[in-house]
């Protein structure tokens, strides 16, 4: 295979998979704490808009990413408040969050659909990035790509190497027991939800700040839902998120290249691939597990917690 084509495909896959990594790793932590937030799509689109708007007005990419982070967090806080303090059904509240997020971003972003911005460019480290083959393959990605991988590592480290991570997992598996020995279930869960919102926001911003320099109200196109699927695929194990996301990135790139090569299949059928792949991958996961129950599912996932004491 041609060397530069190979490098281009790797870069393409990484760009396509990073939004999913961000959104999925955030949701993974949320679900580990026992909360199912179906609002990922809504939080992503708000992040995409916030990042775009701030980039458009200030031209400062750091501020733009921060804005996306806080935008995702802000809308996630609605979910946190409703589910943790007002004890609402998590499925319904998550859906409401997605519907609200889509409406909100379409409304606020209506003046920005014709605008374009300066994309966040890839890094270039003198000497290192210039090494043939290895340079472009390791030292020349977009900065957010590195951050995404770092976040996966950090979440893994937090969950499995810190005391707080252990408590969070305990809460996800048995909130009554965790409460009984004195842990603040609601506080942990609220923190997790906010983190999930922040990550979904940044994941969304990656679409509008790195992938394409425009904003559109349907630009997330189901990636939030695919991210939810990835968490299941990953069996709630952080590093497997990367594997899953790269798989999806690969399928997306494959689909784009196939369209480029003028293969005689309608564009619509090729565009179905990522969605169908999500289903196929979830099915294949179950086939691999055979009839064993998935032991890694947090036991309290989606259950409402209320303490009377």
């Amino acid at each position: 295979m041609n060397e530069s084509l190979f490098i281009n495909i790797i870069i393409g896959i990484s760009i396509a998979s990073v939004p999913l990594i961000f959104a999925a790793i955030g949701e993974l932590l949320v679900e580990r704490s026992g909360v199912l937030n179906l609002g990922v799509e809504g939080m992503m689109i708000v992040g995409a808009l916030m990042g775009f708007v701030v980039q458009f007005h200030t031209g400062n990419s750091y501020l733009a990413v921060l804005a996306a982070l806080f935008g995702g967090m802000a809308i996630a806080s609605i979910f946190a408040f409703l589910t943790q303090y007002l004890l609402t059904n998590q499925v319904a509240t998550g859906l409401a969050l997605t519907l609200f997020g889509l409406g909100f971003s379409a409304f606020v972003g209506r003046g920005y659909t014709e605008e374009t911005i300066q994309l966040i460019t890839s890094i270039h480290i003198p000497v290192l990035s210039d090494i043939p083959f290895i340079g472009p393959l390791i030292f020349s990605f977009n900065p957010l790509v590195y951050v995404a991988f770092l976040m996966v590592y950090l979440v893994w480290w937090f969950l499995f190497k810190t005391k707080q991570g252990l408590i969070l997992r305990a809460i996800g598996d048995n909130h009554d027991a965790a409460h009984a020995i004195g842990h603040n279930v609601v506080r942990y869960r609220v923190m997790a939800i906010l983190f999930g919102g922040a990550m979904a926001g940044v994941g969304g911003a990656f679409l509008s700040l790195v992938q394409v320099p425009i904003w559109g109200e349907d630009m997330t196109a189901g990636r939030g839902w695919i991210a939810l699927g990835l968490v299941v695929f990953a069996s709630w194990q952080p590093f497997r998120i990367i594997l899953g996301a790269i798989l999806f990135g690969g399928i997306t790139i494959l689909q784009l290249h196939a369209q480029g090569f003028d293969i005689r299949i309608s564009a619509q059928y090729l565009s179905m691939l990522p969605y169908l792949a999500t289903i196929i991958i979830l099915v294949s996961l179950r086939m691999r597990l055979k009839n064993k129950t998935n032991r890694t599912v947090p036991n309290c996932l989606g259950r409402i917690f209320h303490s009377t004491t």
Binding site: L86, L99, V232, S266, Y275, I279, V283, M287
Partner: protein, 356 residues
């Protein structure tokens, strides 16, 4: 600090009051939003256009009913599944597939007259929707794959499939390559029940279905089964209810009804298959089902309320140049408030004076 104390019994007063509180809060929030975004227009006149005009003006009222019909039909199906804890979130996809399969039958018999054609189309629509939701039922039972994700992914696939069909087999042969089907001939169009409007027989079907569903849930064993499967899965197991049956029925019923709604939209207000068939009804119907507390008769009312926000939203868009997305914001807010207010039914809210 605010404290929640569980009530011994659900508060009957709050069951009625909480939706009213939620509505009031939504209206107040809408008021605040309007004050911010409207510069030289009176908020009261926008409110009038949004909430009152669709009820007073006969034409807008008929449009309200036109929009309420699909919401009613889809919401009804979803509420049955939601009761059982089966989350069919992709009704939009089943609606699109139902529109395609039912519409394809109508186009296949193009210019063939006959009273049997519409029932046949409706049947094809229902079967299309059932098949599409059935995929999710099969995958859930056979491979324990979450139906939320499957139905949603299939929704994106359905919209792409519609687009492929309209550029391929179902395209109007004399339509200058526009991605649209032929316009259905008279025998394939739903009868209009209010002259001079677009109000079609689908509304009557929707009302009939609601009443049927109410009887079904109240009197039939299956109603009991889905209720218990949702609220007490372990008890359902001990009672010997078949889990798989609940999954199949929930998804097939909600899918079939969504498919029927899709066909009604195609053979009703649209009159042909176009890329504009998906109207977000499938998602909005989720709100409809929750606002009705999953009760069939409640859905009659909640679908009217949501339809009001649709028609009112379109009117303020035309009259005051406000974006249509404002409707979606209100619908989302309404659901938030509604879910939040439900806590008043099960818990007593007490102001705790002690500092902690």
């Amino acid at each position: 600090m605010i404290k929640l104390i569980p009530r011994v019994e659900n508060s009957k007063a709050m069951i009625i009051l909480s939706p009213i509180i939620a509505l009031t809060l939504t209206a107040l929030s809408a008021f605040v939003i309007f004050i911010f975004i409207l510069e030289d227009i009176k908020v009261s006149s926008v409110f009038f256009t949004l909430f009152a005009e669709p009820l007073i003006d006969p034409y807008y009222f008929s449009e309200l009913l036109v929009k309420a019909a699909p919401l009613m039909i889809i919401g009804l199906g979803l509420s049955i599944g939601f009761r059982a804890g089966i989350w069919n979130i992709g009704a939009e996809g089943q609606y699109v597939i139902g529109g395609i399969t039912g519409g394809a039958v109508g186009l296949y018999f193009y210019n063939v007259e006959g009273f049997w054609l519409l029932p046949l189309m409706a049947l094809a629509g229902i079967l299309g929707g059932m098949f599409y939701a059935g995929i999710a039922a099969f995958l859930r039972i056979r491979y324990q794959v979450n139906e939320i994700l499957v139905t949603l992914m299939l929704t994106y696939v359905a919209v792409l499939f519609l687009s492929a069909m309209l550029q391929g087999p179902l395209r109007n042969p004399s339509g200058f390559n526009f991605p649209e089907s032929r316009i259905f001939h008279d025998s394939a169009m739903l009868p209009i029940i209010w002259d001079g409007t677009r109000l079609h027989i689908g509304l009557l079907v929707a009302i009939l279905l609601s009443i049927l569903a109410w009887f079904g849930i109240k009197k039939h064993m299956f109603g009991m089964q889905i209720k218990i499967s949702g609220s007490a899965p372990r008890a359902a197991k001990f009672a010997g209810f078949d889990d798989n049956k609940t999954v199949w029925y929930s998804l097939l019923i909600s899918g079939g009804l969504a498919g029927l709604a899709g066909l009604f939209e195609a053979a009703g207000p649209a009159g042909q298959l176009t890329p504009g068939l998906p109207q977000f009804y499938g998602f909005t119907a989720i709100i409809v089902a929750f606002l009705a507390r999953l009760h069939p008769i409640g859905i009659l009312f909640s679908s009217l309320l949501i339809a009001l926000s649709y028609v009112g939203g379109e009117n303020v868009q035309i009259d005051y140049n406000l974006p249509s997305s404002i409707t979606q914001i209100f619908q989302g807010m309404l659901l938030f408030y509604f879910l939040a207010c439900d806590i008043l039914i099960k818990y007593k809210v007490v102001l705790n004076k002690t500092k902690d």
